[in-house]
Subunit: 293 residues, 2 copies
């Protein structure tokens, strides 16, 4: 048993935001105020929390911040018009439509409607392709970008390392695998998922294990090679009657049994979560810079 | 030692082309003649062979076939204009600019200039993104599509299988990995490459091993798990004074020592190679169909 290094996402995110603050000041001095618009359709409570915290972070950094809250009945056409207006708004460099939208909305079509130069979520096909093509002018989805930043800042070398990503979503799993295998990372990457055989055995190969499945505490001690680095992307609500809220947050990793085996691990909360917002701000700055020139 | 199944790409490609011929007849009956334009800049002998064989296959199927041969001095602007004209030509459903172009040409920009609906090579960002997004309206690059077809036709089940792809190129490695991990394949996929540590050990895990590195006979017997399926994408010219041409073609796999260990293996030549052209014809038909409606 050793004492693992806790990868403190809160602290790293704060440092990233400090950099963002400094860069914002430089842009302001050139007459450019970075602007982020967040669109929320419907009143999903978790989404409201996310959107609120994004707006707050914008305000702290000195960004121009637009928050558009639309009723759940908003039509596809109306939402497309909102996106169009934001595309045309020179004060807005980044546009984010909070996911998930109500069921009657075609999310794919909404994402396609966003000007790819303002797509700070990195979900537009243009940016998806740039990720595959390793083109740095694209926007990298915030959560995997945050995981990479956390590894980098923590001095974890990905070169030649065996990385295993559990999960193959568009938002985390696939972009994470593409980032890790890219020429500036050079990891050997395995993408595993719910249909993989012997998931524990596959995970045990990992020098760097990324859990992004959304199943509470699925990754147990016997899934982890001693000395591995474990990045837990999961944020799951689990019922807990001892809590006032009636639930607690837990990751995809059974932290208390896994942590002692690892050389480094992210806690939940306070690991990947804070990094996601920080990378969103970084992406918005990138958009403002790319527009500004 | 067992007798491996030889994955006969020539035979499977012939069957795919038979399907294409039948489908072409159906389209012709509706007044649509599938059309493919192949553009060759400069006189690279290998490229001339490829372009010639593509044109010949078009003719055999009853496609409208355009072959544009341009001098090596063609400028970027001139080539862009050729692409533009082909984009506008209603008789042309598929456009392919033979790679590699001369050094002064920005290939990336040429690919982007092709109408993504005519990008039968599947290299345009729009199609790259569709591959990641598992959107079947996109065009899949021909070589990895050919490998998948070969697996499918040979009754090799990818579900839950461990697949290892050696190589991370845009043309083969990455799309191959994305196809294998997609929901209609469900393989566990590892992308390995020149910077991977213990490449032999990683490859030995594979139920399905795809070699796409371009290094002659790199994959040796001790890289292969007994009973594995081996797909050899490499086509390398190796000096051979016993041949009239002075060279022979060899794959990335040391065939004679590896084959006896496998349950199935592709030969070189006659494995993946013929599949690539067959899938190009399939993609052109898909383009003609998608335009035709």
């Amino acid at each position: 048993m050793n004492t693992p290094k806790i990868l403190d996402g809160k602290a790293v995110a704060a440092a990233v935001l400090d950099e963002c603050r400094a860069e914002t000041a430089e842009l302001l001095a050139k007459g450019i105020q970075p602007g982020l618009a967040v669109v929320l359709v419907g009143a999903d409570p978790a989404s409201q929390v996310y959107v609120g915290s994004k707006a707050r972070t914008c305000a702290e950094l000195g960004f121009h911040s637009v928050k558009i809250e639309l009723p759940a009945e908003t039509t596809q056409e109306e939402l497309l018009q909102v996106v169009k207006d934001l595309n045309a708004d020179p004060k807005v460099h980044g546009i984010l439509v909070q996911s998930p939208p109500p069921k009657h909305i075609d999310e794919e079509a909404i994402i396609r409607a966003i000007d790819p130069r303002k797509d700070v979520d990195g979900f537009h096909p243009e940016n998806v392709a740039k990720l595959v093509l390793e083109d740095p002018t694209g926007f990298v989805p915030c959560t995997p970008a945050g995981c990479m930043k956390l590894l980098e800042v923590s001095g974890i070398d990905t070169n030649g390392a065996e990385a295993v990503v559990i999960g193959r979503s568009m938002i985390v799993g696939k972009p994470m695998a593409l980032l890790l295998v890219a020429k500036n990372s050079n990891a050997t990457v395995t993408i595993a998922h719910s249909r993989s055989k012997d998931l524990p055995g596959i995970c045990r190969r990992a020098d760097i294990l990324i859990a992004a499945v959304g199943r509470p505490e699925m990754v147990k001690a016997d899934w982890v090679k001693p000395g591995a680095v474990v990045i837990d992307v999961g944020i799951n609500r689990v019922e807990d009657s001892s809590k006032k809220s009636g639930y607690r947050l837990t990751g995809d990793v059974a932290y208390s049994e896994v942590a002692p085996l690892t050389s480094a691990i992210t806690p939940v909360p306070g690991g990947v979560g804070p990094m996601t917002i920080a990378m969103l701000m970084k992406n918005t700055l990138q958009a403002a810079r790319q527009f500004g020139v």
